[in-house]
Amino acid sequence: MIARLKLLWRAWRHRGRFESELADELAFHEAARRDDLMAQGLSPRDAARQSRIELGMRELHRDDCRRARGLDWLDTAARDLRYAFRGLRRNPGYSLTAVWVLGAAIAANGVLFALYNAYALQMPPLARAERWVSLQGVAAQDGRGIDGWSPADADELLRDPPAPFEGLYWLRDIRLPVVANVSRPAYGEAVSTNYFDLLGVQPRNGRGFHEGETGSVVLSHVGWRVLLDAAPDAVGRQVEMAGRRFTVIGVAPPGFTGVTVSSALYWIAKDDFHALRPADFGDTPFIDVGGFLREDATPEQAAASLAAFATGRNAQRADDWRLSAARVLPRRGYLRPGDIEELKSIAAPIGIAFAALLLVAAANLASLVLARFAARRKELAVRAAVGAPRRRLLWQLFTECGLLAVAAALLGFALAALLADPLHQAMIGALGELSIEMREVQVDARVFGYGLALALLAALTFGGVPAWLATAPWKRGGAADVDVASMQRAAQSRLRSALMVTQLGASVVLLVLASLIAANARVAESQALGYDPQRLVALRIPPDARMREALLQLPQVQGVAAVSRFPLMMSGGAVDARVGERSLPLNLRRVESTYFDVMDLPLLQGRALRRGDEGARVVAISRRTAERLWPGRNAIGERIELPSQEALEEGEAGRYEVVAVVEDAVTGLFIGGVDGSAVYLPEPAGAPAHRAWLVRVPDSTRATLDALLRTCVAIAPQDDCDLMPLRTALRFQHTPFLVAATVATALGWTALAISCVGLYGLVSYLVQSRRRELGVRLALGARSAQVIRHVLSHAARQIALGLAVGWPLAFGISRLAASVSDQLHTFDLGSFVGWPLLLALLALGAAWIPARRTATIAPTEALREE
């Protein structure tokens, strides 16, 4: 087979040589035969004549030889391609519209696939990547896969890897406060010291870890840039991590940022991590164990060996973590196998929206193609009359669609390459503020292949039905079947209408939903919090007096308060309460008495809380809580009883007097809105329920955060010193809305543009192909305005039908969304009326521009063209 393809390729590549050799061979045959005939006594002239007659028609033999080599279908395909190209060049309006419409849809789908590709399919640059595997336990309780291993299990596995493995590494994603050129929490990986050697990654500068080495850190290329400002003398420098000094021993090459989904800024040895966070080394299975299979081993063999290890150590595990088996899963990208499943479930609905856009484009194209094929009836009839079978006609029409698809794929790929990374950055910008560096999204050959496959699939769909219909009259070749021809024209017209209505309907759905999502995002953004998130920073660390003193000494700190839950990141805290005869849930917030000053929440009634109130059985409540519990009355002096229950700490149960009513605020997650049942219980710093400090600063700038982190690390190096500016928390919660709004709006606008361009192209084409008929109408006395109205009324009918189909569908989907979350606003006049109306107007405008051209048709010219 390969030899055959080689010969075919050589003949195709060196076509001139193939032809001349074929001619030489036949000429030799004729000359040799002539010599023989002359030797038999014929005159040279007779011999030449006889040999020519015996050989027969050379051109036919040549054709047979080409066919025998497989060149005939290549020749036909090349001819068809040239023909299709010329046809498209002669109709630039049609070709550009088709390429743009499909290209835009391919670009959108290409960007989505590029994102999926970057996380789920792209591989880190590893030696032996095809043998890279993850080790997973199977829980004895419920059969779920457990991605991690306990430290004891992981150590044992690394000490003595089962035979099918060439080597195993130990890895955990970690986040430590780092003090270098900047101070910030930074994500990295704690790894076994064989990590770099096993992965086959050679640091660009310096070296990887030596066995048993401690106190050393290897920076990633990003980490070197972010933490040390890309200092050329980085190797040998000291950085402080969680209060301990580490020496930089190497900088990894630019392409390698670890083997997990977020980019690691650094790697430290697992023993160092153990020294920094001994409390993390319990029984919980949180360590990734991965490695490489031996060349001759299969994942199944490896899983069998691993299962023996996994079940053999059950006695040392807690009940929840006992294992019944193990899996060895080949790795295909940065995501772990379990994470890929999760991603797929999230990506599916998004994929459906993008597929809808592709459907709009394909429907649009189908109506365009249908119009074009209908206009080529005469040409098809001539071809059929000279003997082209229907198969050939179909093939020619397909070739043209294929050519359009390839051009659209190229355009889509170029657009996707241009847009993918900026869109990705815009979507995950908030993660950057959480100190997570995400990887770059690159558009590679795989994305191009995906785009091309989509384009060809769309071409088959949008070209298939029209081509079938257009060639139906020549089912048996030769003369057209008149009945079939007229039926086919009627079918084409019906199909064209259906397609136009479908795509307009789909555009209405996409636009209305996009507008609803955007409206929700706007409402979310404008939500009043009751405080200024720019001036508040949460520091997640168990509060104590030393930390308060240290923080208050910083010039940037204007106040601190210990809290059980800080706003925007922690929800919950509901407890059962009794007010008079009523029993109801209230949201209990344990705060230090300084909380309201730090939050800058105005006091509305009663007195401000003070130090002595902590533990004095008094509470403050929010305005809405007061209105809800004691409508129309003064809440000061009223009582709230907290019965003994699990949600309360020791000594918290009892009767409380309301001494203050403060302004409302969003105290939980931002999506929850203003807390309508907030009760603030004053407790001193260090109370068991307190989890974090809330710090008031003039502005949460990088320098302020830097100072806070340095102070925290100095006082409590053993803790994570997790700093969270509330503006970041807010932005992080806005992100899903913004991403959804951006994507939906982009999809909606693209659909609108595609529909308008498509309608424009279609009406232009119809006007062009009906020139003669319209010319006759004008010649018979019709006024231009009447003809324009006639053309437009047809388009208007389809637009109205499209709206009639799209509206109820959009309404249905929005009701469905409403049933999922009552926080969503699912009716918005602008969305349901404004956008569809705009779509109708724009679509009508798109039809009007070409329709106006009918006014310029000179009847005599239109008739003469025939």
Partner: protein, 114 residues
């Protein structure tokens, strides 16, 4: 050398056999078949070259340009290893076919009723 009187499907076998006797150009292949059959089998000249091209594409023969006895540039065909295997296989098939045909043609009523 007039019109073909070959049984359908036998041209490839004849060409393979002719080429197996040593590298030869197209015209020589034709002559070998004719001489070996003592003029009984005439291959249509136009059918020969597509057969050679097809067999070459299938990898049963390979070609190389050389110089003929008359000092002309000619394309010589030679049998490949897979071609030799095919020739042996096809020869066996042909012989079995001839024997079977012969048995049927020689059959008598008495033999068939026995």
């Amino acid at each position: 050398m007039a019109s073909s009187n070959l049984l359908p499907g036998t041209l490839d076998l004849l060409v393979l056999k002719a080429v197996s006797l040593g590298a030869e150009h197209g015209y020589g292949v034709l002559q070998r078949i004719q001489r070996a059959s003592k003029g009984a089998l005439a291959v249509e000249q136009g059918a020969l070259y597509p057969a050679l091209f097809r067999l070459e594409s299938q990898g049963f023969i390979e070609a190389e340009w050389g110089v003929s006895g008359n000092n002309r540039k000619a394309k010589f065909y030679r049998l490949t290893r897979t071609g030799r295997a095919k020739l042996l296989r096809d020869q066996g098939d042909w012989r079995r076919m001839v024997e079977a045909m012969q048995s049927v043609l020689d059959a008598t009523r008495a033999e068939l009723l026995a």
